[in-house]
C-alpha cells in the first residue's frame, strides 16, 4: 500500500508547495504587467483621439521655422525638425565630450593633490572639493552665466588679447582657420609625424625588451610632431589663412565664436563633476595598501615608477566603476543647460519642438532614447575597459 511505484515525492496542497506557489506568483505578475500596459496604451490612444492629435513621426519632415544660436552643422530656419534633432544631439554630445575630458583631467589632478605631501596643496584641494560638490549644479551654471559672463562688457568694449581674441557678453571670439595653398604638405607632414611616432614607440619598446635600455620616446615624438609640420610651413608657406573676427556695427563678424551659454555649462559641469572624480581618485589610490608601496621601494623602484607600475594599475580597478557613474551624471546634467537657453537636446527638442508641434509622446520618447543610448554606450565602453584591468583571483 505504501509503495505505489510513483517516483516523485509526495507534494503538499496547492498553497503550501513552493514550486506551485512560484508558478502562481509568476502568472499573477504577468497578468498585472500586461493589464497596466494595456491600460496605459489604451488611455493614451483615446485621449489623443479626443484631442484630435495625430500620432506618428511625420512631423519630423516639417519645416522648423526657428533659429538656433549654436549649430555644429549647417542649419537655417527652413530646415526640418529632423535637422533640429541632429543639431541638438550634436550640441549635447559636444557638451558631454568637453565636460568628460575636462572633468577627468581636473578630477585626477585634484585626487592626486588631495594626497600631496605639501600641506597647502592638500588643503586647497580639500576645500575646493568640499565647496564645489555641495553646491547644486544648476546654481553653478547660473553663477557662471549670470555672475561671471553676463556682466562682461558689450562688443564695442570687448576685452581683447592681442587684437586676435575678443571676450564680451556675447561670447569668446577667435580667429578661424581657412584652408590655404600650403595646407596639403602640412597635413601630409603631420600624418608622417604621427605614424613616425607610433613606429618609434614600437621600436623603443622592442629595444627595451632586447637590451633593457629605455628610449626617450615622449620627447623624440614631440620633436617629430613639431619639427616636421613646422618645416613644411617654412618651405611651402602657411597652411591656413586666418579668418579674423572684426567689429562691424554692434557685433563681431567672422572667426569662431564660443557662445557664453556653452562656456557656462562646460565650466560648471566639468568643475562640479571634477570634485566628485577627485574624491573617487583619492579613495582609489588610498585603497592600494601601503605594503605595495613598501614592496616596490624595497626593490629599488623610484616613487614615480612605483606610482605608474604598481599603484595606478591597482587603483584604476577601484576608480573605474564610480568614474563611470560620474560620466553618466555629467551627460544627464548637461540637460540643465536648458535653463540658460543653450540649444541642446532638452531645450531644443523636448522644449521648442514639443511646444511648436504638440507631439509630446514622440518628442519625449526620442529625447529619452537619446540619453539612454549615450549613457548605455558609455557604460558598455567603461565596463569593457574595467573587465580588461580586473584582477584575476582564483
Amino acid at each position: 500500500m505504501q509503495n505505489t511505484g510513483n517516483a516523485s515525492p509526495a507534494s503538499g496542497s496547492f498553497f503550501t508547495d513552493p514550486r506551485k506557489r512560484a508558478w502562481l506568483f509568476q502568472i499573477v505578475a504577468v497578468v498585472i504587467v500586461v493589464a497596466i500596459g494595456w491600460f496605459l496604451f489604451n488611455n493614451t490612444q483615446t485621449n489623443l483621439q479626443h484631442r484630435g492629435i495625430t500620432s506618428g513621426f511625420g512631423f519630423l519632415q516639417n519645416s522648423a521655422g526657428f533659429g538656433i544660436s549654436q549649430h555644429l552643422i549647417d542649419y537655417t530656419e527652413s530646415d526640418t525638425y529632423s535637422r533640429v534633432f541632429l543639431v541638438g544631439l550634436l550640441n549635447t554630445l559636444l557638451v558631454s565630450a568637453l565636460g568628460i575630458v575636462l572633468a577627468t583631467i581636473i578630477g585626477f589632478t585634484l585626487g592626486v593633490a588631495r594626497l600631496s605631501p605639501n600641506w597647502l596643496i592638500r588643503r586647497l584641494a580639500g576645500v575646493y572639493i568640499e565647496t564645489i560638490r555641495n553646491i547644486p549644479p544648476l546654481l553653478q551654471i547660473f553663477f557662471w552665466y549670470f555672475a561671471v559672463l553676463s556682466p562682461l562688457p558689450g562688443p564695442r568694449q570687448s576685452l581683447e588679447l592681442g587684437e586676435v581674441f575678443f571676450v564680451n557678453n556675447r561670447g569668446l571670439y577667435m580667429p578661424a582657420p581657412v584652408a590655404a595653398p600650403g595646407m596639403w604638405p602640412f597635413w601630409i607632414a603631420l600624418l608622417v609625424a604621427v605614424v613616425g611616432s607610433v613606429l618609434l614607440r614600437r621600436w623603443a619598446r622592442a629595444r627595451q625588451h632586447l637590451t633593457g635600455l629605455p628610449f626617450p620616446v615622449l620627447w623624440c615624438s614631440l620633436g617629430l610632431l613639431i619639427l616636421l609640420p613646422g618645416l613644411t610651413v617654412v618651405i611651402s608657406g602657411v597652411p591656413f589663412d586666418w579668418d579674423m573676427p572684426v567689429l562691424q556695427g554692434f557685433n563681431f563678424r567672422g572667426g569662431w565664436v564660443v557662445i557664453p551659454e556653452l562656456i557656462s555649462i562646460v565650466m560648471a559641469l566639468s568643475l562640479y563633476t571634477a570634485a566628485f572624480i577627485g574624491e573617487t581618485v583619492r579613495s582609489g589610490i588610498q585603497s592600494v595598501s601601503h605594503g605595495q608601496t613598501e614592496a616596490a621601494s624595497s626593490l629599488g623602484l623610484r616613487p614615480g615608477l612605483t606610482l605608474r607600475l604598481v599603484i595606478i594599475p591597482q587603483a584604476l580597478r577601484v576608480i573605474i566603476p564610480p568614474l563611470t557613474s560620474q560620466y553618466l551624471n555629467l551627460v544627464k546634467n548637461s540637460s540643465l543647460a536648458a535653463a540658460i537657453g543653450y540649444p541642446e537636446m532638452v531645450s531644443l527638442f523636448a522644449g521648442t519642438v514639443l511646444n511648436q508641434t504638440g507631439q509630446a509622446i514622440e518628442t519625449m520618447m526620442i529625447t529619452m532614447s537619446v540619453y539612454l543610448a549615450i549613457s548605455i554606450s558609455i557604460s558598455v565602453l567603461m565596463n569593457v575597459y574595467n573587465k580588461r584591468i580586473a584582477l584575476i583571483e582564483r
Binding site: 632586447l210 633593457g212 614592496a295 616596490a296 621601494s297 624595497s298 629599488g300 623602484l301 584582477l391 584575476i392
Partner: protein, 255 residues
C-alpha cells in the same frame, strides 16, 4: 644538516654597521642606541616581544623607516637623505614581508621581472631567465604565469623570496616571513630560507621560529623596549640565557 650550514663561509667583510642608532615616533622612543655589526655571510635572528623594535630595526636598514640619530652603513654606503644612495642600497638589499606584498595585478613572472627590468635595466629575455631560475630555486616554476591570488600563502611567500632574489641582493631581510602562514605551510618557506643560508647569503631575520634560529643562525639577538638586551650564538642563547628579560621571554615561548 645543521653543521653544514654552520660551516657556511662567514668572512670578515662588514656588510651592515649600525652605530648609536636612535629613533622616535613622536614621544615614543622606538630604537634606543642600537649598535649592530653584521659581516658577510652572517645569519642573524632577531626576536623579542611585540613592539620591541625588531621590525623597525631591519626596516631602517633599507630606509623604509628613517633613523633620527646615529649612523647606518650598508655595504660601504652610508644611509643619508641622498636619494641616489638610498636607491643603491635598496637594490642591494632584498626584503620579504609578513604579508608577502606581491603585486596582485602582475603574474608571478612579472612580479619577479619588474625590478630587474626597470631598476637594473636588464633585457627582458635575461630578466625572465633569471626569474625562472629563482622560481625553480623556490620550487614553483610551474606557477610562473599565474597571478598571486591563485596561489596558497606558502607559495606566495616563496614567490616573494624569489622576487627579492631576482635583484641578486647581497643582504636579505626577513620581517616575520612565516607569521601570516597556516601551520602546514611554514615548513616550505623555512626550507627555502635554509637553502639560502647554505649558499652563504647574509641574512637578518625577525622570526619566532626558534627551531629555525637554532639550525641556521650564527647569532640570536634579543630585543626588548627598543634596545638590544642580549646577543649570543644560538646554543648559548637558548641554553644559558644571561639576562632576566631573555629568560622570561624564552620561558613564555618555549613550552
Amino acid at each position: 644538516m645543521s653543521e653544514a650550514i654552520k660551516q657556511a663561509v662567514v668572512s670578515d667583510k662588514m656588510m651592515i654597521h649600525m652605530q648609536g642608532v636612535n629613533k622616535w615616533y613622536g614621544q615614543f622612543h622606538v630604537l634606543k642606541d642600537i649598535n649592530l655589526a653584521v659581516t658577510q655571510g652572517e645569519r642573524i635572528v632577531l626576536c623579542g616581544p611585540s613592539g620591541s623594535g625588531k621590525s623597525t630595526t631591519i626596516r631602517c636598514i633599507n630606509r623604509l623607516e628613517e633613523h633620527q640619530q646615529g649612523q647606518i652603513i650598508v655595504d660601504g654606503t652610508e644611509l643619508t637623505n641622498d636619494l641616489k644612495q638610498i636607491e643603491r642600497i635598496r637594490s642591494e638589499v632584498g626584503m620579504v614581508f609578513q604579508h608577502f606584498n606581491l603585486f596582485p595585478h602582475l603574474t608571478v613572472l612579472q612580479n619577479c621581472t619588474l625590478a630587474p627590468l626597470w631598476v637594473r635595466k636588464m633585457p627582458r629575455k635575461e630578466a625572465e631567465e633569471i626569474a625562472m631560475h629563482y622560481l625553480q630555486r623556490v620550487r614553483i616554476p610551474e606557477q610562473a604565469h599565474k597571478y598571486p591570488g591563485q596561489l596558497s600563502g606558502g607559495q606566495q611567500q616563496r614567490v616573494a623570496i624569489a622576487r627579492a632574489l631576482c635583484m641578486k641582493p647581497k643582504i636579505m631581510l626577513f620581517d616575520e616571513p612565516t607569521s601570516a602562514l597556516d601551520p602546514e605551510m611554514v615548513k616550505e618557506v623555512l626550507d627555502t630560507m635554509i637553502g639560502l643560508a647554505q649558499d652563504g647569503m647574509t641574512m637578518l631575520c625577525v622570526t619566532h621560529e626558534m627551531g629555525f634560529a637554532r639550525t641556521v643562525a650564527n647569532r640570536v639577538i634579543f630585543m626588548d623596549k627598543g634596545e638590544i638586551v642580549e646577543q649570543a650564538p644560538p646554543d648559548q642563547f637558548f641554553d644559558h640565557p644571561q639576562n632576566e628579560r631573555t629568560k622570561l621571554f624564552l620561558g613564555q615561548i618555549l613550552h
